[in-house]
Structure formats: structure tokens, C-alpha cells
């Protein structure tokens, strides 16, 4: 992948679709999946004379991201028209920001392996999305493109990084971080497959140790984290090969084809961008007061990294656990909610990371959609802590809970799964087991001590997993001593 002679220099442009109810400049719903063109009006259709009015929530969301990435929020920023023709852009221009964006000069910290690194944020600006074109012949019957303008005018922020990336791993770590942050800030759902988080990359290679940057290419159409990794690896290898063979990199825009596993150059006509930006006369300069920024800042929710560190500090769980649990906000909330019903944080963390995440993954669910409520998981784990049921039985109960979402206490009672902690009962079980394992007992007594585990297992089996393991151990030891 990476080349010993050359190092990559990469920058990223990430587009995030903001979770507002309405579009950026009109009162149409910005909801996804409506019937075609049902969420349009004269403004987003680009009908003559219609005027845009800025949605305040859009600015608020962008300020959140600006603050979360340590940017300077401009007291005054300017909207500009980016001019180009495409059927899904009815106005013939996209309202964006150009020379005076809302946020500038920030950074985001990423962690790759043990190292932390700051990635510079050059700017974050506001813009509107275009509509959707359907080119698929199977839909259109060929020779036509269908246009749905529901998405046209929905608000985006574009986060432009400095060219600070030196490996694909850094890019992935950054994207993961951005997604995590926008989800925590509740400004974007972060779904790459559905296109609410999109990313383009600028890549160039230079000889290791060189200052001067090589010629860059722009890579587009990467629709998943996996696709980003594959596309970057492909492009780095391609450029390195050209350079090794003494060739020259052509500055161009490349489209990643994930099915074919390769990129192709956009044709020069598609690429002819000369956007002739100029200030948007239909919108006044965007003024953001200090008071506004302060109030957004005060209400900013706890960010993933801060939350992770707090989990380690407050609950004493390992950093790795905290990292996994804070990967998304709903999981982190689930963890903290569960802890209201059981005190053992590490036990909760283990259960969430193994049992619960396995089921969620299978059902493609988020924690807040999970059938077992934090309260019920907490109660179940509390039964383990109190010794009412064993960990093994708890797993069976959990399975039941995943089916119906029932209360663990009810399941334990109904199925008679209460742990056996009665000494006499366990003794009986141990005696019964030893009786039917005479030959093994002889072997054990003649020195084969590894059989102890086997005996415990047999007792557990006899009790259908209900015997208290600690007590079973102790009683078994005592009994065996008598034989010796």
C-alpha cells in the first residue's frame, strides 16, 4: 500500500447533511424518502422571483461543529453563488460560502495506534444540496434522466481539512471521529451509505523527506468507510507506480468505482469547473453575535473524547471499553442508564460489548432501538452480582429477554432458574456426581488433578447450570480431601 520511496499527502472534504426539519432557505420539509418532488416550492425549484430566507437552525448546527472542532466563528460571513449547469440544480447555481466562511482555523485530534495527531480544519462552510438524478436505464427506460428535487436545498456543512494526512489509517480515524462528533452534536446522522456523510479526498505523493508537494488528484464517489480505504490505497499505489517509473501525475478528478475496485478519470467536460463564485445578492451577510456563540457553547453536549475519559475516571473501566462504549451516543447513554440499576461498571461494560453488541449487530440496531431496556439489563446483571443466578444462566435469561423484552426477574421465576445456594442441595449433587464418576475419581486420587475441572462441570450439568460455582468448588474440594 504505502511506498517506501514516497509518502502521501492528503486532505479531506467532508459534507454533512444537517438534521434540520426544513431546508436551508425555504420551509419545505428536509425529510428523506418522500415521494418525488413532493417537498418542493418556488424557492428550491428555482422559480423566478423566489427569494431564499436562511434557516436559523442551520447556522446553530454549523456553529456547534465549529466549536467542537476548535474553529474561530466569523462574526460576519458571506454567502456566494457557485455557478454550474446540471439538471438537478434548477437555479443554475448552488448557494455556498466562498471567501468568507462561517468557521475557520480549527483542529480535530485523532488517535492512530498509540499516537495522537492534530488534523487542521481549514474551514467549515454552509451550503445547500442539489437534487437527485436517476440515470438508471432500468428505471428511466433509457435515454432519459429522472429528476427528484426533494433533496434540493437541504442544508449541508462542508468541513475542509488541511492536507495533514500521511496515511489511509489517519484518514479513517479522522472520518470516524467526524462521524462520532456530528452524531454526538445531533447535527447529522452520519450515515455514509445513505449519503448524509460524504467525503472527497485530495491526494498527492512526494519523495519521503521532500518539502515540495506533488501534483494532486481529487477522489470522489466513496460511499462507505471501506470504500474510502480501498480507494485511497488504490490511488496511492497508482501514483507511486507512475512516479517510480518516472512518469507525471495528471491533475484530475477521479471517480471511485467500488464494484470494479478502481477509479476512472472524469471526462474533461464533466470536470470543467470554473464556478465563477460571486456574493449572493439575495442574502444579507450572516452576522453571528458573541452572545449567540456563547449560548451555543454553553449548551454543547459532552463530546466523545471527553465522555470516554470521564468513563475511565468515573467508572474505572479500561480505556478500550470506554472507547467502544462511546463510539456512538446512544450506546454511551445506554451504558450510563444501565448503571443506575447495577453497580458493577465493568460487568455492564463486558455484557454490552459482548452479548448485547452481538445481538445488535445481527439485527442492525442501535442501542436506543434495542429490545432489552437498560433497566432490564441492569436488573439482570444485578441478579448476578447478588448471586441469585449464575453468569451462565444469565446468558440464557438474556436470550429470552431478547425475544420478548421481558423482565429478567419474571423469566428467572417462571423458568425456575434461581441459583442453588443451599449447601445441602449442592452436597447432594456432588455426592451423586462422584458416585457416577468412580473411575475418574480413582484417576484423580492417583494424581491426575486436572480432573477437578471436569468434576465441577459435571455438577453444573447435573444442576442444569444452577449450582453456585463458588460453593460447588469449595464443597467439592472438601469432599475430595476426605477421599484422599
Amino acid at each position: 500500500m504505502s511506498d517506501k520511496l514516497f509518502e502521501p499527502v492528503m486532505g479531506l472534504e467532508v459534507h454533512c447533511q444537517l438534521l434540520t426539519r426544513t431546508k436551508a432557505f425555504c420551509t419545505c420539509s428536509a425529510a428523506y424518502g418522500g415521494t418525488p418532488n413532493s417537498q418542493t416550492c418556488p424557492v428550491c425549484l428555482g422559480l423566478p422571483g423566489a427569494l431564499p430566507v436562511l434557516n436559523k437552525q442551520v447556522v446553530e448546527f454549523a456553529i456547534r461543529m465549529g466549536l467542537a472542532s476548535h474553529c474561530v466563528i466569523a462574526a460576519e460571513s458571506i454567502f456566494a453563488r457557485k455557478n454550474y449547469f446540471y439538471p438537478d440544480l434548477p437555479k443554475g447555481y448552488q448557494i455556498s460560502q466562498f471567501d468568507k466562511p462561517l468557521c475557520e482555523h480549527g483542529w480535530i485530534e485523532i488517535e492512530v495506534g498509540e499516537a495522537t495527531k492534530r488534523i487542521g480544519i481549514k474551514r467549515i462552510h454552509l451550503e445547500e444540496d442539489a437534487g437527485k438524478s436517476i440515470h438508471d436505464d432500468a428505471v428511466t427506460g433509457g435515454n432519459a434522466t429522472f429528476i427528484d428535487l426533494n433533496r434540493c436545498g437541504t442544508p449541508l456543512i462542508e468541513i475542509v481539512s488541511e492536507p495533514d494526512f500521511r496515511s489511509a489509517a489517519e484518514v479513517t480515524a479522522y472520518l470516524t471521529k467526524i462521524r462520532q462528533i456530528v452524531q454526538y452534536l445531533e447535527i447529522c446522522d452520519g450515515n455514509m451509505e445513505e449519503g448524509s456523510l460524504r467525503c472527497d479526498a485530495n491526494i498527492s505523493m512526494r519523495p519521503v523527506g521532500a518539502e515540495k508537494l506533488g501534483t494532486k488528484t481529487e477522489l470522489k464517489n466513496m460511499n462507505s468507510f471501506k470504500a474510502v480505504e480501498r480507494a485511497l490505497a488504490y490511488e496511492m499505489a497508482r501514483q507511486a507506480k507512475v512516479l517510480r517509473e518516472g512518469g507525471e501525475i495528471i491533475q484530475q478528478t477521479l471517480l471511485w468505482d467500488d464494484n470494479a475496485g478502481e477509479s476512472r478519470a472524469m471526462r474533461s467536460k464533466e470536470e470543467a469547473h470554473d464556478y465563477r463564485y460571486f456574493p449572493e445578492p439575495d442574502l444579507v451577510p450572516l452576522k453571528v453575535s458573541k452572545e449567540w456563540i456563547e449560548s451555543v457553547s454553553e449548551n454543547l453536549s459532552e463530546l466523545p473524547q471527553a465522555r470516554r475519559d470521564r468513563f475511565v475516571r468515573e467508572y474505572g473501566i479500561p480505556k478500550y471499553d470506554a472507547e467502544v462504549l462511546t463510539l456512538n451516543k446512544s450506546l454511551a447513554n445506554y451504558f450510563e442508564e444501565t448503571l443506575k440499576f447495577v453497580k458493577d461498571a465493568k460487568l455492564v461494560s463486558n455484557w454490552i460489548m459482548s452479548e448485547m453488541m452481538a445481538v445488535m449487530k445481527e439485527n442492525k440496531q442501535e442501542a436506543d432501538q434495542f429490545i432489552v431496556t437498560p433497566k432490564n439489563l441492569g436488573r439482570l446483571l444485578d441478579l448476578i452480582v447478588k448471586g441469585t443466578i449464575s453468569g451462565k444462566i444469565a446468558k440464557n435469561v438474556f436470550e429470552e429477554m431478547c425475544k420478548e423484552g421481558a423482565d429478567p426477574n419474571t423469566i428467572v421465576k417462571e423458568k425456575g432458574l434461581l441459583q442453588i445456594t443451599n449447601r445441602d442441595e449442592i452436597e447432594k449433587l456432588v455426592d451423586k456426581m462422584l458416585e457416577s464418576n468412580q473411575s475418574q475419581l480413582k484417576e484423580y486420587l492417583s494424581g491426575k488433578e486436572a480432573l477437578f475441572g471436569h468434576f465441577v462441570g459435571q455438577v453444573m450439568k447435573l444442576s442444569q447450570g444452577k449450582a453456585n460455582p463458588g460453593m460447588t468448588n469449595d464443597i467439592l474440594k472438601e469432599k475430595l480431601k476426605k477421599y484422599a
Binding site: S38, L45, G142, A144, L283
Partner: protein, 96 residues
């Protein structure tokens, strides 16, 4: 400042306009007359003046994030030269 015929050609292409040779010459001349006129502004020293992005200084002009009804679909598609189902239909454009 002035523009050449080639520049006008390029601008025309970007604006999806087609001109014949006569028109190109005519518009190049007209554009240059306009540019010359506007060029007078360059005689003024503006080094200490902030750029004006908008002629009118409004206070904040915002809208709350409240949904209002969109245009009825028959109105939306009323002027579409071609439509299928609820889509606008245009001659095939190559992706993306």
C-alpha cells in the same frame, strides 16, 4: 481591463450560450465598453475601505425551522416539458 474574443467564447460556453462570429465580436466590444466604464472605479483609492458584500445593512434575517406546506405536485410539474410518475424528465445526462 478588457476581454478577448476567446475569453468571451469561454464565458459563453460556461453560460450555455452559443454565438456566431458576428455576435462574438459585437459582445466582446460591448463588454469591453462596460468594463472600461466600470474601470473608472479603479481610480479611487479604496485601500482603507472594507469590501461591501451587500448594499443594504439589514439586521439578522432568519427564519425558524418550521415546516410549511410545499407546493402541490401538479403545480410543481406544471411547467415541466416532460414528466413521468412524479419526476421531471430530462435528456440523459452522464453521471455522477
Amino acid at each position: 481591463m478588457s476581454v478577448t474574443i476567446d475569453e468571451v467564447k469561454k464565458i459563453a460556453t460556461l453560460a450555455n450560450l452559443e454565438f456566431n462570429e458576428n455576435e462574438l465580436e459585437k459582445y466582446t466590444h460591448q463588454l469591453n465598453t462596460i468594463l472600461e466604464y466600470v474601470d473608472q472605479l479603479n481610480k479611487i483609492d479604496t485601500s482603507s475601505v472594507e469590501a461591501t458584500y451587500h448594499p443594504i445593512q439589514y439586521p439578522d434575517v432568519f427564519r425558524n425551522d418550521d415546516i410549511k406546506e410545499s407546493l402541490p405536485i401538479d403545480k410543481v410539474l406544471q411547467n415541466a416539458p416532460e414528466k413521468t410518475w412524479q419526476y421531471f424528465v430530462v435528456p440523459k445526462v452522464v453521471g455522477p
